[in-house]
Amino acid sequence: MPQVVFQGSSYEAGGQSVLDCLTARGHAVPSACRAGVCQSCLMRAVRGLIPEPAQKGLTPAMVARRLFLACQCVPSQDLEVALADDVIERIEARVCAIESLNEEIRAVQIRPQGRFEYRAGQFVRLFMDARTSRNYSLASVPALDDALIMHVRRVPGGRVSGWIFEHLEIGDTVTISEAFGDCFYLPGRPKQDILLLGTGCGLAPLYGIVRDALNHGHLGRIHLYHGSRDACGLYLNEPLSRLAAIHPNLRYRPCISEGPSAEGYCAGTPLGVALEDNPDLSGWRVYLCGNPQMVEAARMQTFLAGAGSSEILADPFLPSGTEAAPAPNLQ
């Protein structure tokens, strides 16, 4: 009899769906239509074979993350499952470099002790202690970088970023989760055009995705727009300009949304400048990272401009709890 393993317990599936099996045992799993349509009951397979009908209608990014629809999943063999965003693993990692990227953002490089799988653009949860953690996107690319690279912005009054800026040193050991998120490059459509919009350290995952795409020999256009209020908020201008100089399909546009315009920068928000350059986004894949208001506005505007809803991948950087300052409006 196939077993469903969830949060350390094992249950006989008995021909039921994973959703029915778990809710019958009193577990709260979100659900709505129970017909495989609404995608409310998305879960993640940690181990075991996902029956094909359970991934019908999911985007390639979701399939790559081993997500499945619990209501449509009748296991034919043992299956260990988790809620889509639950942390399952904690991994030790050693800090191997810390570098200042601008006045408020640092690149922290860590080396996981042991095997660590991720895709460029995903994020990890970094634990300051057992209860305090924050999510940081990865700017590194598995095929290009030995270490994981996070871009950490010092949040005024932020506990974890304050700890990172004041106490974290090279050689320290930290605890991280496995990698999460569906904002990553998907090989397989090398001619598709790619638009990437980011604000602040939302550049981190985009920097990883751009380099991953180039490393895969992506042939379509790759247009990256990075925005901040002023030039001081931007970073990595030089390596990005260098990349754009050797890859004709890469366009890099740093955007400044406030104050006087400056040479080498576009005036406006990444979204505004991008839509001016490319008003028709039919067939494009879109990546959005950073300020949540920018991300939501851009999700709507790029969809209305023709990008398919399943082709828009977003990673809004939500402020954590009350201790973080409200995110600046950079849209």
């Binding site: 239509c33 017909a35 349509v37 609404c38 939501e296 969809f303 398919g308 809803s309």
Partner: protein
């Protein structure tokens, strides 16, 4: 064969959902009901609605429809808005070259939800 199969099943829903949702969002008569909604969840809901209207698998009940639209009825949702959605749905199917007699059937299925959607 049923309506859902005649229309082409899930691939047909997938082809229609973005076109339909874009029309609805750009429709000045009804776009205000969609301001501030979470686009990801809304796109999934549009897909559920289209699947239902196409005669496909769904477990939605009249009560679900009522609950889901009650706050919009308070904001003034009425027959004219319902008609606008059905019109956008028809225009979507026309754009996808669905024959008129099937469009009429889809409209008829959508029509069965009118009383629940408008809370009557």
């Amino acid at each position: 064969m049923g309506l859902y199969e005649d229309l082409g099943g899930e691939p047909a829903v997938n082809a229609a959902v973005d076109i339909f949702y874009r029309k609805v969002l750009k429709d000045d008569r009804i776009s205000r009901f969609f301001t501030g909604v979470d686009m990801v969840h809304q796109a999934a809901k549009q897909k559920s609605f289209l699947t239902m209207a196409f005669g496909g698998p769904n477990n939605y009940t009249g009560l679900d429809m009522r609950k889901a639209h009650a706050h919009l009825v308070e904001q003034g949702l009425n027959d004219s808005h319902f008609n606008a959605v059905v019109e956008d749905l028809g225009a979507t199917l026309k754009e996808l070259k669905v024959p008129d007699h099937l469009i009429a059937k889809v409209a008829a299925v959508a029509e069965t939800t009118r009383a629940d959607v408008l809370g009557r």
